[in-house]
Symmetry: C2
Subunit: 340 residues, 2 copies
């Protein structure tokens, strides 16, 4: 077994006492600069690392922040985690990541594991199955919690979201301006906050323009490419098929376009399509996809800063009032809806 280097090894190496080594590390005035330098060099040479975790734990601080997301292979989440890690690591925190795989049971288990690992805070986006907040209620009594994107309405913690309602209004406004009238919506599961709100915004947008939501025009799905394809297929069978689709995510929007292309229906001339998230591929595919930019990098930054602020309040023993940051999504107009 590899041997762990301790201050005793450094002391033996230099022929001084362990106590002198310890004092050198804490920059004690009784230790000469020469000895301090020798200790630092010996530490480097022998491969000694101060156990900041143990030191921190004695002060009740692990320096660890847990990040819990459905899956880090989605570019929305990985971009957010990238920003969270960059922001927290600048302040000396390390990020533990865990994934719920969109399962409530796994989310509960992972939260428990994070608590056991003594994280000082949790930044999370909940799973598609999460229909109650009991497991988060327990945690947020103990440590700071920040939710982003997929939040829980009844959980009183700081949140970072985009204005999904406004995003939907922008999507509908744009489609109407381009002359589309029979606009259908492919939503997510409506117990998950952003998808419920995106649907509300869609309804409000349609009402604003005096447009009717025909039977079958509101579809809920798991937001996959296959969902987009099969729902579009079904929509085309309606007595009055839609002339535009606003999807609550980019993958089903891509699926819709795929279905339309295969059937020789021209996008955007015959049917317009708008997605949500501005995933990288939306500007690579043909036609490029009109979508809503969620500012994911910015969301990660704000979530991390909110966490740092709460930790500081906690260290200072000050009260912290949870707050929600709402970013306005930006409509990025591309070929899929931009008919002349």
């Amino acid at each position: 077994m590899k041997k762990k280097i301790t201050i005793v090894d450094i002391a033996n190496h230099l022929g001084i006492t362990p106590s002198a080594v310890s004092k050198a590390f804490s920059d004690h005035p009784r230790i000469s600069d020469k000895t301090k330098k020798a200790v630092r060099q010996a530490a480097e040479q022998l491969g000694y690392h101060q156990n900041t975790l143990a030191t921190g734990l004695r002060r009740g601080r692990s320096g660890l922040i847990g990040v819990l997301v459905p899956g880090i292979h989605f570019s929305f989440f990985s971009t957010i985690i990238k920003a969270i890690e960059e922001t927290l690591s600048e302040k000396g925190y390390s990020v533990i990541i865990s994934q719920s795989r969109d399962q409530l049971a796994k989310e509960i288990r992972q939260l428990d594991n994070l608590m056991k690992a003594q994280v000082e805070g949790v930044i999370a986006s909940v799973s598609l199955e999460t229909n109650n907040s009991a497991h988060f209620q327990k945690i947020c009594k103990r440590i700071p919690v920040v939710l982003f994107d997929r939040t829980l309405r009844d959980l009183e913690v700081s949140k970072v979201v985009v204005d999904d309602y406004m995003g939907s209004i922008k999507a509908v406004d744009h489609l109407v301006e381009k002359g589309y009238r029979r606009i259908a919506h492919i939503g997510g599961l409506s117990h998950v906050e952003p998808f419920r709100i995106r649907q509300e915004g869609y309804r409000a947008g349609m009402q604003k323009h005096g447009l009717e939501i025909l039977e079958g025009y509101e579809q809920s799905s798991k937001l996959t490419v296959a969902d987009g394809e099969s729902i579009m297929n079904d929509l085309l069978k309606l007595p009055s098929p839609p002339d535009a689709i606003y999807a609550a995510s980019d993958l089903p929007a891509y699926g819709v376009i795929k279905c339309l292309k295969e059937r020789g229906i021209a996008v955007p001339q015959e049917v317009g399509v708008v997605g949500f998230s501005n995933e990288a591929y939306t500007e690579m595919v043909s036609p490029t996809i009109t979508t809503l930019e969620q500012h994911s990098e910015n969301m990660g930054l704000i979530a991390a800063k909110s966490m740092l602020e709460q930790l500081q309040h906690q260290y200072d023993d000050k009260e912290y009032v949870p707050q929600q940051s709402t970013l306005t999504p930006k409509l990025v107009i591309r070929e899929s809806s931009n008919r002349k």
Copy 2:
């Protein structure tokens, strides 16, 4: 400040001694099942979490594994981390992620931070700037290290890579079979292992078919879309421009296609294109891109299993012999090279 629940609180709550609570947690035979149940319920109710980190640290185990990658927003890395996290969390380990942002200085700093956080092992893919292994040499004397994809030739640790040489041969074989002869290569920076080897494979493939590598046919780049576009532009100015491009990554392959489309040059009829990595967008863009599948999920799984095996050897005080796992990349033939 939020109060930390300890076994004393549980003891007070139940009117028993802290020692009895502690014994109940460790399933001591002298404690009745009824009391054990009451203790578990009280722990649940009060929000007590056993400090497994502190308990582990006393045994020299933090239960933390560090994962260090250039950036987690690349889907190749996020897919690998997803698999690593899933595999390690099943065995009770948590994953700390950190990013080098492709900078050597940041890689060194992040490795140091991981050591300070007392990780039990490090799984890493090195930055584009990493041209020596000194910082890893120090670490791998102390704890198990596994490198994947971007490895260091002179570091004697377990590695997981794809057979980049074979991948290049497959790409060239395929292009030759489709009738392309003037094949150029857009590589990465050649001090980084996979890119050096992909270039070697390209040369070997050309030689195998008796094809000459003309002046200017070998380009190195940072593998961005813009690199692909500008290099293709330059290649078209050559006296004998290439009729096929084999790029060491998918983004420049996409950039090449973008450039060719803008100039009205037909892909694959006039110029064939092959990328490397099988990123999700390669089957979404038009034309879809022929590429090499790296089995990233599998790489993550193997890296995690190798780490678990080394940790087990360490606990058992057995010698571990580093080994390299080499996966054979699979050529995925799509429109960009599939001319009739």
